[in-house]
């Protein structure tokens, strides 16, 4: 018996060596080094590293740009997630019905998921183009506006467009996930409610929503992590502008690191972002292990 145990443990180590090595060397080692960088003032051109203790953190938290980026990131996440959830619930309920073409619709909603985020950004940028864009021209034709408007140069409208593009990208996964959740609600619950004379709206608010919500925890956290990490959509749409109107934390970290070339500060902002994501992954882990019964 002991021999079997021994060979099992040997096997566990042997099978994990490749993945663990790759992850250790290429992810965790850079992560540790990156954390180390947060205590340095780095000049890449001069190859100089100067230890400055916590100065980067103090500077980051007293810098209005960082603070407003954090607020912007949270706003961006909250708006995108709630828009994605509401529209995904609606579409999941629609696709949960039996109708001709259901299968085709389910296949087509995968398109925004497979669309590379960079192309997603390009497509939406084109969609809102002030001269040739679909949106402005339709508004013009309908007579809602009388002059072309560049929505991408307005602070608030650019922010909303970035949120819309993000929702678009998050939608397929949310719908698929909610469809899987809807499948787990037993039909008998609805039948019982129908016998008791519950209206359609009552069935939705009293049965579907409350039963969807606990399982949606995982989805919401997953969406939160995706939005916190999003970069490419913003790059392709607005490059963080106009001004700083769409500069979220991840984009700020990028531009401080690779445009200003201030690696120490860039690493510090990245580390703040990683901590935020770490907190969410703890939540995610907790939620995804909970079991529900109806």
């Amino acid at each position: 018996m002991k021999d079997i145990r021994k060979s099992r443990i040997k096997m566990i180590f042997a099978l994990n060596v490749p993945a663990v090595t790759v992850i250790l060397v290429l992810l965790l080692l850079p992560l540790a080094i990156g954390f180390g960088y947060t205590f340095f003032k780095i000049s890449f051109m001069k190859h100089s590293f100067k230890f400055i203790g916590l100065a980067n953190y103090i500077e980051a938290f007293s810098d209005s740009e960082v603070i407003s980026s954090i607020i912007r990131t949270l706003l961006y996440s909250i708006i995108s997630i709630s828009m994605a959830l509401v529209s995904a619930i609606g579409m999941a309920l629609m696709l949960n019905k039996d109708f001709v073409g259901n299968k085709i619709c389910r296949a087509l909603i995968m398109i925004p998921w497979a669309l590379p985020p960079i192309v997603n950004g390009i497509a939406w940028n084109w969609f809102f183009n002030p001269r040739y864009g679909f949106f402005t021209n339709v508004l013009l034709k309908l007579g809602i506006i009388d002059k072309p408007i560049n929505f991408l140069t307005g602070n608030i409208s650019a922010f909303i467009i970035v949120c819309i593009a993000t929702v678009y990208w998050l939608l397929p996964f949310s719908i698929i996930y909610l469809l899987a959740l809807l499948k787990t609600i037993p039909k008998s619950v609805y039948e019982a409610a129908e016998i008791d004379g519950a209206s359609k709206w009552q069935r939705f608010t009293k049965i579907t929503l409350p039963l969807l919500l606990p399982g949606s925890g995982v989805l919401i956290i997953w969406l939160a992590i995706r939005t916190l990490k999003s970069y490419d959509i913003i790059y392709a749409l607005t490059e963080g502008g106009p001004g700083r109107a769409t500069t979220v934390l991840n984009y700020l970290a990028y531009s401080v690191s690779f445009k200003t070339m201030d690696f120490g500060m860039g690493a510090t902002i990245s580390f703040i972002l990683s901590i935020m994501i770490f907190l969410f992954s703890i939540l995610y882990y907790r939620f995804s292990f909970r079991e529900y019964s109806y």
Binding site: I23, K97, F99, M110, I122, A180, D232, F271, Y284, F289
Partner: protein, 279 residues
């Protein structure tokens, strides 16, 4: 009668939402077939979505642009090889988590670490990678990108594969052990064949996310190993900004993943759902 009206409005709703969902992509697709003149006149009262004189000019000009063939072949090589590597590494590790590690505590800690790493933002490690790849002479090489994508994708791939291995009952392998099968034999001959659909799902998933990745490739490559998404992304900053070619390039690079997503739709959905729901 009432039922028919209801059904009519339902279909109207379906068509409306599906159009809404596909609109940005469809506009991009149809405008990419417009010639330069048509495109520049396509505004205000003259606006139309579907090209009146469809041409492949934009596509031709994309094929002729410098770096296009290089970027496309780089993306195929990098995504392909790193998907294969990821599949091997992730399958082995996921197998141990699901079948071989018996201590619940060890398994949970290991799983959490894997999960956290899979959530890690690229920016958190990008600066050291940039500095070290330059110092080690790996900057702008396919090798670096293949290895990095493998490292990046492996944690989530482990997560998906573990969910699939979990669905295979333990009794099967237990019976084989009693009959004197070794661990490696049980893995290769019993559990792995049963997890093949999961493997396929994970590989498609990995390939698409590697193909679509942008930030890592933009910082760590310049010409030699430039991937397709970076090549398209840099269009915007180019001197002679060519709208038509940009749209066409976007469509070309999207087609492979769109086709894959449609063909393997069932597997992708399974992978997405199992990766996210089953711990």
């Amino acid at each position: 009668m009432k039922k028919n009206i209801k059904r009519f409005f339902f279909y109207l709703l379906v068509i409306f939402t599906m159009t809404l969902i596909l609109m940005p992509f469809l506009v991009m697709l149809s405008n990419s077939f417009m010639g330069t003149k048509e495109m520049f006149e396509n505004t205000s009262s003259n606006y139309h979505v579907i090209a009146r004189n469809p041409t492949l000019k934009n596509y031709m000009s994309v094929f002729k642009k410098p770096g296009f063939a290089n970027a496309l072949s780089n993306s195929i090589i990098i995504s392909g090889l790193s998907t294969i590597l990821t599949a091997i590494l992730a399958t082995l590790s996921a197998y141990t988590i699901s079948k071989l590690i018996r201590s619940k505590k060890v398994r949970n800690i290991y799983q959490f670490i894997i999960l956290f790493i899979s959530m890690l933002p690229t920016m958190a490690i990008l600066i050291p990678l940039f500095i070290y790849s330059a110092n080690l002479g790996l900057y702008d090489t396919k090798l670096l990108m293949i290895l990095l994508y493998t490292a990046f994708n492996t944690p989530f791939a482990i997560w998906i594969m573990k969910a699939f291995f979990d669905t295979i009952p333990l009794d099967l392998s237990e019976a084989a052990y009693i009959d004197g099968c070794t661990y490696s034999k049980v893995m290769l001959l019993i559990d792995l064949p049963l997890a093949l659909p999961g493997l396929a799902s994970m590989m498609i998933f990995t390939f698409i996310s590697t193909w679509n990745e942008f930030l890592l490739a933009m910082v760590l490559t310049s010409k030699n190993a430039q991937t397709w998404s970076v090549w398209v992304g840099l269009f915007k900053g180019m001197y002679d900004f060519d709208f038509g070619a940009m749209l066409a390039a976007g469509v070309i690079g999207t087609l492979p993943v769109l086709i894959m997503a449609q063909i393997f739709q069932k597997w992708i959905i399974e992978g997405l759902v199992s990766g996210a729901t089953k711990g």
